[in-house]
């Protein structure tokens, strides 16, 4: 699915070039569950954002299903965001003015799904995450774990093939973190490709493959059995 070839990411300041990612080669297949680990500042988020088309590499090639996705037009990018991938953030990034229900519904509106279908789809997910009773609450009225569940629900409501999660448990206590990881695992079992960034060894273990980054270089890339 994902093919990264010799990806560099650097920032130029006045006198020097700082590399954030250096010669990253990566192949990720359909249905994988990848955990990216590494110390702070090692480039994990940058890598994830490049994969998520939120950032562009300074050099190298990136293709999705053998189609290069560098130099995409705005419209094509939006299309990928609508139909191909979903995002989960450490800070949840829910829209405060909107209820749980509306937050989950938003991507469907942008996709142009009809109102009736939207209702059914949101209801399904709420049911699955046991949040039917909370649907009219606002994000601030939920616990962190619940907010992140809403974040996941929003990320997957459009049935993306690829789910990108940047430290989804970073702000959560371990019990709640565990619940989130179980949810991700279940999604993966259903066939969704997932790439997560995490600091937590135990949570990284939910992945089927662990990649370790150090100073922008892939140090280890191992199957996790």
């Amino acid at each position: 699915m994902i093919h990264l070839n010799n990806i560099d990411k650097y920032y130029d300041s006045k006198f020097q070039r700082t590399f954030v990612l250096k010669a990253v080669n990566l192949e990720i297949k359909d249905g994988e569950f990848v955990s990216i680990m590494g110390p702070s500042g090692s480039g994990k988020s940058t890598l994830l954002n490049i994969i998520g088309l939120l950032d562009t590499p300074s050099a190298g090639e990136y293709s999705l299903y053998d189609k290069s996705v560098l130099d995409l037009k705005e419209k094509a990018k939006v299309d990928y965001h609508r139909n191909f991938m979903g995002f989960i953030f450490q800070a949840y990034h829910l829209i405060e003015e909107m209820t749980v229900y509306e937050n989950i519904e938003t991507p469907l509106i942008y996709k142009g799904v009809k109102s009736k279908d939207r209702q059914a789809m949101v209801a399904d997910l709420l049911d699955r995450f046991n949040m039917v009773a909370k649907k009219d609450l606002f994000p601030q009225q939920l616990s962190g774990g619940q907010q992140q569940l809403v974040g996941i629900a929003r990320a997957i409501i459009g049935k993306p093939k690829l789910l990108l999660a940047d430290e989804p448990t970073g702000n959560l206590q371990s019990v709640q973190g565990e619940m989130i990881m179980e949810t991700l695992k279940a999604l993966n079992d259903e066939g969704m490709t997932i790439i997560q960034v995490t600091h937590n060894e135990k949570f990284a273990g939910y992945g089927k493959r662990i990649i370790r980054l150090e100073d922008g270089i892939v140090r280890k890339d191992v199957k996790n059995v």
């Binding site: 954002n49 998520g52 979903g86 990034h93 942008y110 996709k111």
Partner: protein, 793 residues
């Protein structure tokens, strides 16, 4: 989608109720102001335009070449209308009109002693064909053909006959000066609409006026300029060409005439009525332009503030935008969302503004002296919807395009930095708004001071405690008795009579001749006809000589002039000199100091006061202070003894004097409102900017406070940034305000001074208001718990 957005807007509203409210009210105030001014302007533009002949309806004006320059005026020879119509095929028909304002009120009565005082005029037969005053009964071709015909308004019909049925053919009496005549009703018209310059309740046939001339000592010839002349031209007539043809028309009829003619569209004159030296030089159109400009400015400021506040709020929503983009919102969807929101908001503001207009309409009508109504028809609503859409689009498009253009990643990581252009735009806005506030405050003070100046100006006569009323009915033949009786009333200080009401337009002549006068020179003298005691009654100061008095027998051959007259005549020892007044030899017996019998806009003109009690029309009574009510009651019963059944209509001279400056009083009242609104809207704008600025610096403030900065220090930090810009705006605005007010004051020959302190005060006021507004926000920012601010990031 719409539904969903409206819900979001209301949620936003509840969450940021105070700033939302301020924004809405600011825009609504701007809209309301603009709507009121728009209604006023539309009304001004509609004056006299309702005549069906409007495109062909012209009035003939005269340019009289005088030594002082060319004088433009509307009074023309009686014969002009009919002669022009006969000689020029371009003219469909012509009408001579002796307008109501020449006469004051007529006394109109029926046999059963139903007595009304009201305005009337004389007009030639084509009057109701040329002008569209709705004729309800009667044939427009014929109603004014008979000598004694009269067309009355529905209102007059109702008050004279209590009905409009079968009124045609009924007779009533009318009286003007000392003449009494009968007239037969030949038609009824609806009345004059509010947007008509001419206001009258009945129209008599012009031949009745011609027949009166002998009784009034009026000569009908080409040198006597009395009625107005109106033309209805055939379609397609080239007016320029016609004007060149009629220009010297009077000179061909009367050799040596200094008069040239030209025709202007009748409805053009209401707004463009001023002429200086024979050339059109504006008029009310200047107020129309000024107010339109103010409306546009207010709308612009309110709109810019709205956009500004909306964008400031939108930057708070950066994160939301980032999230939306990540979950798949394209730019288009964001643009639709933001513009949709803005348009809904502008419509809400518009609805509020219409309520405001509705609420303030009576007050506005009071100030402007209009009868404006809010009519929610297509002609009104369509432009309004247009304005809403435009404001909404502009408001929404900016944040939509600006914010949606960012990379979502940079938004989610933190706020993108502002462009320097945007920072300059906001500072420019502060300078612009406070500049306008300073101009408005300064203008308000200057206009107020000029109005005070007019009130307090020593006019050279005393206008207080003087009442005047028409010299009519039996007072005319028994004038000396009436005056003697009136003087016996203990509260009466003095009594006299005069040609006009003093305030306003006396007649004028250029028939003054004296030894040493340049025979080529045409010099205009204002003429006042007076009785004995006039100078004493008005306390006009004598510079030399004496006043008219009944101690002398031959006052008819004497006259009094003012100092301005002496100046133009260049006489060294005026008293005792013989001059010629319209061919009659008269001796100067007195010189009065210049007094303001005309508007303070004009320099005091040369004036001659002639003794002519037979032609005076107004009684003037000076009351003793303190017992006016009692005295007026006694005068009223004295009047009733002479004129039983006549209503006693009197006016105070000082009130009449104030009416002379109605326009200035209105401008003064309006300028207060405009200044208030200007300041209010500017403050709302500044309020928003300050809120925005402190929002931007929230983190900085937090860190400073954690490091020990005190509230006052933080406030100084935030305030000084704005005050700098307000000071700059003051520096820019002062010369502009000075220029505008200097120009306005120049329209007065007598005016207040433009002192430096007016501008200093305006600056201090604007600065103080700005400081208060900004401090409110800075205080809020400075007292916030720093931990909140830091956690927010």
């Amino acid at each position: 989608m719409m539904n969903y957005q409206i819900r979001l807007i209301f949620r936003n509203f509840r969450k940021n109720s105070s700033s939302f409210f301020i924004n809405l009210i600011g825009l609504a105030t701007g809209f309301a102001c603009a709507i009121l001014i728009f209604l006023w302007v539309a009304d001004e533009m509609s004056v006299d335009k309702f005549h069906k002949t409007d495109k062909q309806l012209y009035q003939v004006l005269e340019n009289q070449a005088m030594s002082q320059g060319i004088l433009t005026q509307e009074y023309t020879p009686d014969l002009l209308a009919r002669t022009l119509a006969a000689e020029f095929p371009e003219i469909k028909y012509a009408v001579a009109v002796s307008p109501a304002r020449m006469f004051g009120n007529f006394t109109v009565s029926t046999d059963d002693n139903n007595l009304v005082k009201t305005a009337g005029q004389f007009a030639e037969p084509n009057f109701f064909k040329a002008f569209s005053y709705d004729l309800l009964q009667g044939n427009p071709e014929q109603v004014l053909s008979d000598n004694n015909a009269v067309v009355i308004s529905r209102k007059l019909a109702l008050s004279l006959f209590k009905t409009t049925e079968n009124v045609i053919g009924k007779t009533f009496q009318w009286q003007i000066f000392s003449v009494k005549k009968n007239a037969v009703v030949s038609g009824i018209f609806e009345g004059t609409p509010a947007n008509s310059t001419a206001q009258f309740d009945f129209v008599l046939s012009y031949s009745a006026w011609i027949n009166l001339s002998e009784a009034l000592g009026r000569n009908i010839h080409w040198g006597n300029h009395a009625p107005q002349t109106f033309l209805v031209l055939n379609e397609g007539v080239d007016v320029k060409k016609l004007n060149s043809e009629i220009s010297d028309f009077i000179k061909t009829k009367q050799t040596g005439s200094n008069v040239s003619l030209f025709a202007v569209p009748y409805s053009h004159q209401y707004l463009h009525g001023n002429y200086s030296n024979g050339v059109e030089s504006g008029g009310r159109i200047e107020y129309v332009r000024l107010f339109s400009l103010i409306a546009i400015f207010i709308l612009l400021i309110a709109g810019i503030n709205f956009i500004n506040l909306a964008t400031a709020k939108a930057s708070k929503r950066f994160r939301e935008i980032g999230v939306r983009k990540v979950v798949g919102s394209g730019r288009k969807a964001l643009i639709v969302q933001f513009t949709g929101e803005a348009i809904i908001l502008t419509f809400m503001a518009m609805v509020i503004s219409i309520l405001m207009v509705w609420f303030f309409m009576p007050q506005f009508n009071l100030i402007t002296g209009k009868q404006l109504h809010l009519v929610l028809n297509a002609g009104f609503l369509l432009p309004i919807v247009g304005i809403c859409l435009i404001t909404g689009l502009l408001t929404g498009l900016y944040p939509a395009l600006y914010l949606s253009g960012f990379n979502p990643l940079s938004i989610l990581k933190g706020r993108p930095s502002r462009s320097s252009g945007e920072i300059w735009a906001r500072k420019g806005l502060v300078v612009f708004q406070f500049g306008i506030s300073v101009v408005l405050i300064a203008s308000m003070i200057v206009v107020y001071r000029q109005v005070q100046f007019i009130h307090n100006k020593n006019l050279g006569y005393q206008k207080d405690h003087i009442i005047y009323f028409a010299k009519e009915g039996n007072i005319v033949p028994k004038l000396p008795t009436f005056m003697a009786e009136a003087k016996k009333i203990p509260g009466v200080a003095n009594v006299s009579d005069i040609s006009s009401s003093l305030v306003g337009n006396p007649s004028s002549t250029y028939g003054m001749n004296w030894e040493g006068k340049d025979p080529q020179a045409n010099i205009n003298f204002e003429v006042m006809r007076a009785d004995v005691n006039l100078i004493e009654t008005l306390n006009i100061e004598l510079a030399d000589g004496r006043s008219f008095s009944d101690k002398f027998s031959d006052e008819n051959s004497k006259l009094i002039v003012n100092q301005a007259a002496i100046d133009v005549m260049g006489l060294k020892n005026p008293i005792g000199q013989i001059v010629s007044y319209n061919g009659q030899q008269k001796q100067i017996v007195g010189v009065v100091k210049n007094f303001h019998f005309q508007s303070l806009r004009q320099k005091v003109n040369p004036l001659t006061i002639i003794y002519d009690p037979n032609k005076t029309m107004t009684m003037m009574v000076k009351l003793k202070a303190g017992q006016e009510k009692q005295t007026i009651a006694e005068l009223k019963s004295l009047y009733a003894r002479f004129n039983p059944g006549f209503p006693f209509d009197y006016q105070f001279l000082d009130v009449a004097y104030q009416k002379l400056y109605e326009a200035e009083e209105r401008v003064s009242a309006l300028s207060k409102y405009f200044a208030g609104i200007g300041i209010l809207i500017s403050c709302l704008g500044l309020f928003g900017l300050a809120a925005y600025a402190s929002e931007q610096r929230l983190k900085e403030i937090g860190i400073r406070k954690v490091n020990g900065a005190q509230i006052t220090e933080v406030m100084v930090l935030l305030n000084s940034d704005f005050i700098k810009w307000v000071a700059l705006s003051f520096a820019i605005a002062t010369p502009i305000a000075w220029y505008i007010m200097n120009r306005w004051l120049e329209s007065f020959a007598y005016r207040t001074t433009l002192s430096w302190w007016i501008f200093a005060l305006s600056g201090v006021l604007a600065l103080g208001i700005a400081l208060l507004t900004v401090s409110w926000q800075s205080w809020k920012a400075a007292t916030r718990n720093p931990v909140d601010a830091l956690r927010n990031e």
